[in-house]
Amino acid sequence: MGVDAIRAAFEDGAAFIPYLAAGDPGGDLSNSTPESAMAATADYVSALVDAGADVVELGLPFSEPIADGPTIQSATVRALQAGMTPPRYLELVESLDVDVPIVAMTYYNPIYRYGERDGVGPFVEAAAAAGVDGLIIPDLPVEESAPLERACREHDVALIFIAAPTTREDRLRAIMQRGTGYLYVQARLGTTGASRSVSDQTKHTLDRIAAYEASERHARLPKAVGFGISTGEQAATVVGAGADGVIVGSALVDIVAEGEDVVASLEELGRELKAGARAGFDRRTQ
């Protein structure tokens, strides 16, 4: 597993990457225990992998999720109330019985504070041992990432950076050179959350990255687009526009929040999204 496993997950050219908030018990908190919330997440992950997920992003909740919109903020609050902690998160990852790479998405402070001493080393070491293959830290730009890069390299964990619509060439260069695993392409400005249409910004951003890659032969990373994708048709559009994969979070978190037939509904939407990504790939390569 580790960095190579993540790269391998993009082999079919149309990766489907679901996101869930770990330990989110959904709408009804009254009967949930930390154990039941963790077991529910494990079931949801299995359902998404059955539906064709190639990588799974699992959110480790942080009390100040500044990059997240209302849907994932609410999931974060539910998960924290249900008792999710960094040690339980790693237990949950360790208990997963799936053969796709797991990427942990969280903010800098929880991983900085993990363990007996300050610094990111203890978290990365424990995460790698538990089966985490990559990290996404939305509040960590390349300016501050050197310590985490070192720890990730040491433990064969991918460090996945985000490229935004506002990211210009000089910053893109640093991100492409320092990131591993894949590049998280932010589809539009704003916070995470489902939206009705995939913006023109996405196409422009993908084109700019493609132009950059053409000029720098060594700087290739798979490109996964996230922020606002919620349907198979949107997945097809994004992959058709040049993405190697789609990341879908809020639309899936909504299903967990509603709490009705969660496993079946996740599987159904998961199949639609994977099929959409494939259709987009076929469209592009025909």
Binding site: S63, I66, V77, T85, R113, L189
Partner: protein, 414 residues
């Protein structure tokens, strides 16, 4: 490594989408503020004088000097337009945004003082403005909500969490993540990613540089002690900056001790906002600093009777200066601050903001060992706090409070 390091503290922990705007702001700060390009700083100084009322006086406090047997001087930022030091920074940043060609202003506010100052500056400079404010603070600070609305700004309540300053900052950052190309975020304190702590300190440093000159002029010497209250720390940093190299001057940061310094880690609640005194190192709202957090790195809900100090973080430069021993941080609890509020009102005829009252609570506790001369920054006036002070004084049966029972509508009902 990014710029903006104060020892181990500072940095730029923000989403990539915001980094280009942060870089643009860093460049504008360098050119307009530090190098006075296009006469920016002259323009700002002129506006601070004619619109803001600068310079503010340094006043000798007769009664307090008698009471503590030292010479107490008050740096009267409560006399600045808007009733608090906040305009120094708000006017500076809104003007800077205009020089940068931004079209819209967003801001967070806790007590409403920064929000009010920002909306006044926006009206003055013709910029549209949206202010985010925690729901709980909206309810605690109604007069300031009205003032912001009267200045033509929209005020958006934030319902997440406990509905105080921490949540308001997070929500303003989310707005910015979507509007960054046209919008400037006016942060109200010396917090956030670089260059904000530098930028805000630079705009607020007018407090200390005036006070230092006024001391030399009036006393012929520097004071022994300089005292300011600190939440995020903008009036404190602005007051200290000119005195940092003066080793004979002791600097005191008075924090909100709230109900208690004991922390309930299980419930994730710190019943105080004494971040320098009790916090641990972490990363919050864009910088590495001292924060109130639990063992898992989750930020705790803070508490103070004063909304403006009610924050789980503190400016990174203050964290550094405290660690270096250049300043001493001391908590003053809710009750002592309320008592000081009444004392200053009765002894000096100055009704201070509840934030400011903490600095005078410190004077009551430590007035006898501050040397011969002390300068205290009166960071703001207390009109906005009258409702909560009456309520809290009644509830606590404070001996320092005047008898207000005639005027309360539900006597004893609280």
């Amino acid at each position: 490594m990014s710029g903006g390091q104060y020892g181990r503290f500072g940095g730029q922990y923000v989403p990539e989408a915001l980094m280009p705007a942060i870089d643009e702001l860093t460049d504008a700060y360098q050119r307009y503020v530090l190098e006075n390009e296009a006469g920016f700083m002259d323009d700002l100084a002129e506006r601070l004088e004619t619109f803001g009322g600068r310079p503010t006086p340094l006043q000798y406090a007769d009664q307090l000097s008698d009471r503590y047997d030292i010479d107490v001087y008050l740096k009267r930022e409560d006399l600045l337009h808007g009733g608090a030091h906040k305009l120094n920074n708000a006017l500076g940043q809104v003007l800077l945004a205009r020089y940068m060609g931004k079209e819209r202003i967003i801001a967070e506010t806790g007590a409403g003082q920064h929000g009010t100052a920002t909306t006044m500056a926006c009206a003055h400079l013709g910029m549209p403005c949206e202010v985010y404010m925690g729901r709980r603070d909206v309810n605690r600070q109604r007069p300031n909500v009205f003032r912001m609305r009267l200045n033509g700004a929209s005020v958006t309540p934030v319902d997440i969490g406990r509905g105080t300053l921490k949540e308001a900052i997070s929500e303003t950052m989310r707005d910015w993540a979507g509007s960054v190309e046209t919008t400037h975020y006016v942060i109200g304190s010396v917090v956030g990613p670089h260059p904000y702590p530098d930028l805000v300190r630079e705009f607020q440093s007018v407090i200390g540089s005036e006070a230092r000159d006024q001391c030399l002029e009036k006393l012929g010497e520097l004071p022994d002690a300089v005292v300011a209250c600190a939440g995020g720390g903008s009036n404190a940093m602005g007051t200290y900056d000119a005195f940092l190299e003066d080793e004979s001057v002791d600097l005191y940061a008075v924090e909100a001790g709230g109900d208690s310094l004991e922390i309930d880690r299980e419930a994730g609640v710190a019943p105080n906002s004494a971040t320098l005194s009790t916090g641990t190192e972490g990363v919050l709202h864009g910088s590495r600093t001292k924060v109130l957090q639990d063992d898992d790195g989750q930020i705790m809900e803070s508490h103070s009777v004063s909304s403006g100090l009610d924050y789980a973080g503190v400016g990174p430069e203050l964290a550094h200066l405290a660690e270096e021993g250049r300043l001493a941080a001391t908590p003053v609890d809710d009750e002592a601050a309320l008592a000081a509020f009444h004392r200053l009102s009765q002894l000096e005829g100055i009704i201070p903001a509840l934030e400011t009252a903490h600095a005078f609570g410190f004077l009551e506790e430590r007035g006898d060992d501050l040397g011969d001369t002390a300068v205290i920054t009166v960071s703001g006036r207390g009109d906005k706090d009258l409702e909560s002070v009456i309520e809290e004084s009644f509830k606590r049966d404070l001996p320092e409070a005047p008898d207000l029972s005639l005027f309360t509508t539900d006597q004893g009902g609280r």
